[in-house]
């Protein structure tokens, strides 16, 4: 079977919306419900965060949702089960985002194999260095038909951007500014210049812009400069509001894509 993320970018050149949420939050068994609702809202791609005790690159919102998810009893095995069940009714491309230590303790090959069998299409491991990936894991990712997306930031040199472009399959994760996740301001001219610079490099991999994308304005701007955008913390905050899951999700996505 062809990878769903590759398929997505083959068939859709822009306005790709990737929504991130933390597995096991707000409630332990919300994972499938949230994905189903996102799918029915026309979201193109979902990114499921594996809750981690020490999420170095994440801001307060994701830290708190992760802690809550762990308290709820979320584990990697349970996540695999939840995705397996969901796959009977949904074909939306799925990415798992987590930290290297989680994959390592689960056993790297076991993790990739089970994720692949469950129906996961791609991974994002922000603290897995590119050289370690290239040497130790690239072949395994290919074997299990799982894409890998590396991050680039305004501090990343052109040389490394090209390396990330070369190694990433699926899409390249463009971190919009030097920050952890969850900031909410407008996109500055300096950021636009950085996006333009990336676009001038003639990269092979599609790009999604993430970090700080939180409303219609920032989403639209991101879509102007890349194939689409990733929304995380803002969506988690929306999930934490009062009301039914489906309704909250419908409202949030409706606002972003109105």
């Amino acid at each position: 079977m062809k990878n769903r993320i590759i398929n997505l970018f083959d068939s859709k050149g822009g306005d790709v919306l990737n929504v991130y949420f933390t597995a096991g939050h707000p409630e332990l068994n919300d994972t499938a419900k949230i994905i189903t609702a996102l799918d029915s809202q026309g979201v193109d791609l979902v990114e499921i965060g594996m809750p981690y005790s020490d999420p170095m690159a994440d801001g307060e919102t994701i830290q708190n949702s992760s802690q809550k998810a762990l308290k709820n009893g979320m584990t990697l095995s349970l996540l695999m089960e939840q995705i397996t069940t969901l796959r009977k009714s949904s074909d939306i491309p799925i990415i798992i985002m987590g930290y290297y230590n989680q994959m390592m303790q689960y056993g790297e090959e076991r993790f990739l194999q089970e994720a692949s069998e469950a129906g996961v299409d791609g991974l994002i491991i922000p603290d897995l260095p590119m050289d370690v990936y290239a040497k130790q894991y690239k072949n395994l990712f290919e074997k299990y038909n799982i894409t890998m997306s590396f991050l680039i930031t305004p501090e990343t040199s052109d040389h490394r951007i090209r390396m990330a472009d070369e190694l990433s399959t699926g899409f390249l994760y463009v971190v919009s500014k030097s920050s952890i996740t969850g900031s909410s301001s407008t996109i500055s001219d300096r950021q636009k210049a950085y996006f333009n610079h990336i676009n001038s490099l003639d990269l092979k991999t599609p790009r999604l812009i993430g970090f700080g994308i939180h409303d219609k304005a920032t989403y639209d701007t991101a879509c102007e400069y890349a194939q689409g955008a990733i929304i995380g913390s803002a969506f988690i905050r929306a999930l934490e509001a009062e009301g039914g899951l489906e309704e909250k999700i419908g409202k949030f996505i409706g606002r972003v894509r109105s």
């Binding site: 981690y52 170095m56 290297y100 989680q102 303790q105 897995l128 260095p129 501090e155 920050s179 952890i180």
Partner: protein, 395 residues
């Protein structure tokens, strides 16, 4: 076998730099430049002068006669407790502030557990007139009020880490996040031999002055540079890294690391990382750490806030796994007893961390001819509140 870092940033299978891309430029810049900068004549001169005139080095190597009589052998104490600010921590912060200046950084961040590294960082920032922000777990801020006050008096801003368990590991996460948010003007002064390469090696080099002095001091007293044993406590492991540094390749010298057993290694309330830990990644470094099967990091316990770190420096993981260092552990109670004993028979009140190193002397079964150096890493002033709580049961 080599025990120093290799050119890839590893100690055997431990070490490396497992960091998100947001930190890459800064860590890479540090990696490229740290060795060149710290061995410049001008840097060395300034570093040595500050260690001498400001910190008060060399620290004495003192033959503890009554302690020796009690445990056998000749036990020397390397008096890092006599450094300015009360512990070895300042050796590293002096080095790193000079490095930060040469990197053109205007803002300093640090993490702290008990507050010793925070105080040492606030001190050098005051000395150099640099902005200083110290992250400290909210729980630790409550437990370590005098050190919080010291940092504030020295002009540092103490920011509570509210995430996770709100202790040292979370303060470290917050400092890392700050660095991600402020990549251009900020240098992160890590307080121990932990974190991504080059930090473990860089901090060890700044702390290596401890064993450099031990060698010539012991030569003066005993006619030889190498003792039979060097004993030091290990949390992250910076005082031990400094005390071992110049003896790593001299197999005649047995290296002894002492971890905090808390209420007992198997009690569920412990910080004995090398026994309870498994291989994994913490704060950007592959090492031994306390974690669940799912890779979630476990909060350790020790009465000593400087030893309750869930990981251990990657060099220590390598020294332990390769058998070069021998590991002991001491419980809270054993450490408290050792603190009381040293106070009574030598007139030195040691820090609680250091007391763990002293507590295992009786387990070592020393011979009369053995020469031992215990790294007396810090003084006990900061632990008085804890000592007062236990004074009645110990006397």
């Amino acid at each position: 076998m080599t025990y120093q870092v290799d050119d890839r940033g590893y100690y055997g299978e431990f070490g490396g730099a497992f960091i998100p891309e947001m930190l890459h430029a800064n860590v890479e810049n540090l990696k490229k430049r740290y060795v060149e900068i710290i061995y410049e004549a001008d840097f060395q001169k300034e570093f040595d002068n500050l260690l001498k005139d400001y910190v008060g080095r060399p620290t004495p190597l003192y033959l503890a006669k009554r302690l020796s009589a009690l445990y056998g052998g000749k036990i020397y104490l390397k008096r890092e407790d006599l450094n300015h600010t009360g512990a070895h921590k300042i050796n590293n912060t002096i080095g790193q502030i000079l490095l930060a200046q040469r990197l053109g950084k205007k803002r300093i961040i640090a993490e702290t557990g008990a507050g010793q590294h925070g105080v040492a960082t606030a001190t050098v920032c005051a000395l150099m007139g640099v902005e200083c922000i110290v992250y400290m777990g909210q729980v630790d801020i409550g437990r370590q009020a005098p050190n919080v006050a010291r940092m504030r008096m020295l002009g540092a801003e103490v920011r509570p880490a509210m995430s996770g368990s709100r202790t040292l590991k979370d303060a470290t996460n917050e400092a890392i996040r700050d660095w991600i948010n402020n990549p251009e003007d900020t240098h992160y002064i890590i307080g121990s031999v932990v974190g991504p390469h080059p930090y473990p090696d860089m901090v060890a080099r700044f702390q290596s002055v401890i064993s450099e002095e031990m060698k010539w001091q012991l030569k003066e007293k005993e006619g030889r540079e190498q003792p039979d044993y060097v004993v030091a406590c290990v949390g992250g492991g910076s005082n031990a890294a400094g005390a071992f540094y110049h003896y790593l390749d001299d197999e005649r010298v047995k290296l002894v690391s002492v971890e905090a057993a808390g209420l007992g290694v198997d009690s569920g309330e412990s910080a004995a990382t090398s026994v309870l830990g498994t291989k994994g990644i913490i704060h950007g470094s592959r090492t031994l750490l306390m974690q669940t099967e799912d890779g979630q990091i476990i909060e350790p316990y020790s009465i000593s806030a400087g030893l309750d770190y869930p990981g251990i420096g990657p060099q220590h993981a390598h020294l332990i796994e390769s058998g070069r260092a021998q590991v002991y552990s001491a419980t809270d109670k054993e450490a408290l007893t050792a603190a009381m004993e040293l106070s009574r028979i030598e007139g030195i009140i040691p820090a609680l961390e250091t007391s763990h190193a002293l507590a295992i002397l009786d387990q070592m079964k020393l011979k009369e001819e053995d020469i031992v150096i215990v790294n007396l890493s810090g003084r006990g002033d900061k632990d008085l509140a804890t000592y007062i709580d236990h004074l009645d049961e110990l006397t």
